[in-house]
Amino acid sequence: MNKPAQVEVRLDDLYQEVILDHNRKPRNFEKLEGANAYSHGYNPLCGDDYELYLYVDQGGTIKKVGFQGQGCAISKSSASLMTIAVEGKNIKEAEALKNSFVDLLTKEPVSGEVRSAVGKLKLFEGVKQFPVRVKCATLIWHALEDALKDIQKK
C-alpha cells in the first residue's frame, strides 16, 4: 500500500495539467458535418458515452475528426487528444497508433518503440497505476477502430 505522500504523486500522474485542460476544453468536440465514418463508444460500467465522427478522403487519409458525448476526465481528455493525434494520418497509421496506445496502457514493460510511437500521448501512462481507469483512456481508441472498420466496409 502506498504512503500518503505517494498518493499526491499518483494523483498528479493521473490528472496532469494537459489532461485537465483537455477535459475542461475538449478539442474537436462537435458533430462532424459530412462525416463518412461513425462509431459509438460506450462503457456500461461507468457510463462513458461518446459518438465519434470521421471524414476520410478517397486516398484513405483521415481529414477531420469530431466527437461528442460525456464521461470522466480521463475518457474525455483521451478522446480530445486522440482527435488531434490521428488527424492527417492514413487508416493504417491510425490503426498502428491505436495499437501502440493500447499497448502503452496494457503491456508491461512498455517497449521503446511503443513509447516513441505514441509521442505526446505517453502522458496517459500514469493511468496504468489505476487499473479500473485504463478502459476510460482506451474507450475512444476502440471507437476509432470501429469507425475505421466502418469506412473500410463502404
Binding site: 500500500m1 502506498n2 504512503k3 500518503p4 505522500a5 505517494q6 498518493v7 499518483r10 494523483l11 493521473l14 490528472y15 485537465l20 460500467l45 461507468c46 457510463g47 458515452d49 460525456q70 464521461g71 470522466c72 476526465a73 480521463i74 474525455k76 489505476f130 481507469r133 476510460c136
Partner: protein, 393 residues
Amino acid sequence: MLKSRMNGHPLVYFDNAATTQKSRAVIERMSSFYKNEYATVRRGVYTFSQLSTRECELVRERCRKFLNAASASEIIFTKGTTEAVNLVAAGFGRKFLKPGDEVIISGMEHHSNLVPWQRLCEEKGLALRVIPVDDQGELDLEAFGKLLSARTYLVAVTHISNVLGTINPIREIIKMAHHAGAWVLVDGAQGAPHEKVDVQDLDCDFYCFSGHKIYGPTGIGVLYGKMKHLEAMDPYQFGGDMIETVTFEKTTYAKPPAKFEAGTPPIVETIGLGAALDYLEGIGYSEIHQHENELLQYATEKIKTIPGLRIIGTANQKASLISFVMQDIHPHDIGTVLDQLGIAVRAGHHCAQPLMRRFGVAATARASFAFYNTKEEIDQLVKGLHKVLEVFK
C-alpha cells in the same frame, strides 16, 4: 477489515449499500462451522449431516422470526435478492400472467427488480407500468393509484432506494395494490438492513433481501412468500431436493420451501446469515436508526456546504445514504480521488439507469453509511471532496 488501510490512509468504508463488512461473530461462526460441524444437509443418515440440517433449519426459523412470517416454510433460501425476484417472475409470473395483464414497478427500481419483469412482459405480451418519481425522489402515489386497475396483476417495488435513499411508503402501496386485487413483491435488499420488517403486519405477498447487505455472507438471501402463493407457484429450478417422487414419466414436487431449493444449498452461508441476524438484532434497530440518522444528518449538513455539490434524493423519509454530483466533475473522477485518500464510495449508475435519466445525470457518487461508521469518517469525506475540487479547479 474496517481497521485496514487503503492507499496509505485508514480505510473509510462508505459503500455499505453495495455490501456491508462482516462482524467477527459472523466470520467466526462460519469458520467454526467449517472446522467442526460441516456436512451436507437433508441427505445424510449420519449424525453430522443431521446436525448440519438442524442448524440450517434453525436459521430458517431465525429468518421467520426476523421477518415475523407466519411459518418457517414461507422462508425460501436463495442466492440473494436478484435470484428471489427471478424466482417469483419465473414461478409465479410465467404461470399466472396472461397477455393483457399488467405489472407495475417504480421508477427507482434497481435493475434486479426491473429487468426480470421487463423480460416477463416481453415474453408474455404484458404491459409494464412505472410509478413516477418526483424531484425529491419520492414516489407519486396519486399517479400510482391511476395506474392500478383490474388488469394489474403484480406490483414490484423497492422498500428503500439504493440510489436516493428514499424509504417508500410500502404499507400504503400494499394496501392500494391489494384493493385493486394485485399482489405485491417488496425488494428489501436495502430495506432489511435499516428497517424492522413485519411481513404479516405489512401484509406483503413477497419480501426479499440479501445476506451480504445485512452483515452476512454473499451467496445467501431470503425470499418470503405467503404460503398460498408458494403452494400455487411453479418451481424455479429443477433437480435434487425439490422433488417428492421421480419416475421417467413424471415428477411430483416437494412442498415449500424445498420445492424452491433445488440442489445442495449454500450451507455455511446459511449459518453465517443466522449469525448476522443475531448480531444485527443484538445491536437493535432502534440503536441502528438513531446512529445512522445522526450520521445522515451530519453528513448532509456538511456535504451541502461544498460549492457546486448537488444531492440527488432529498425525500422526507430517507435511509443513511447520500448520492451526489459535483459541478461537471464526473463521479468516477471523484471516486478515484477519494480512493487515493482511503475513502471507498460508489461511483456510477448504481444499476438504476432509468432513474439516472430521470434526474438528468449519467452517474452519481454515493456514500452509504452503516452503524459502524463515525462522524470523524464523514469529516474525512468532506476533506476528500475539497481535495476533488482542488484537483479539478
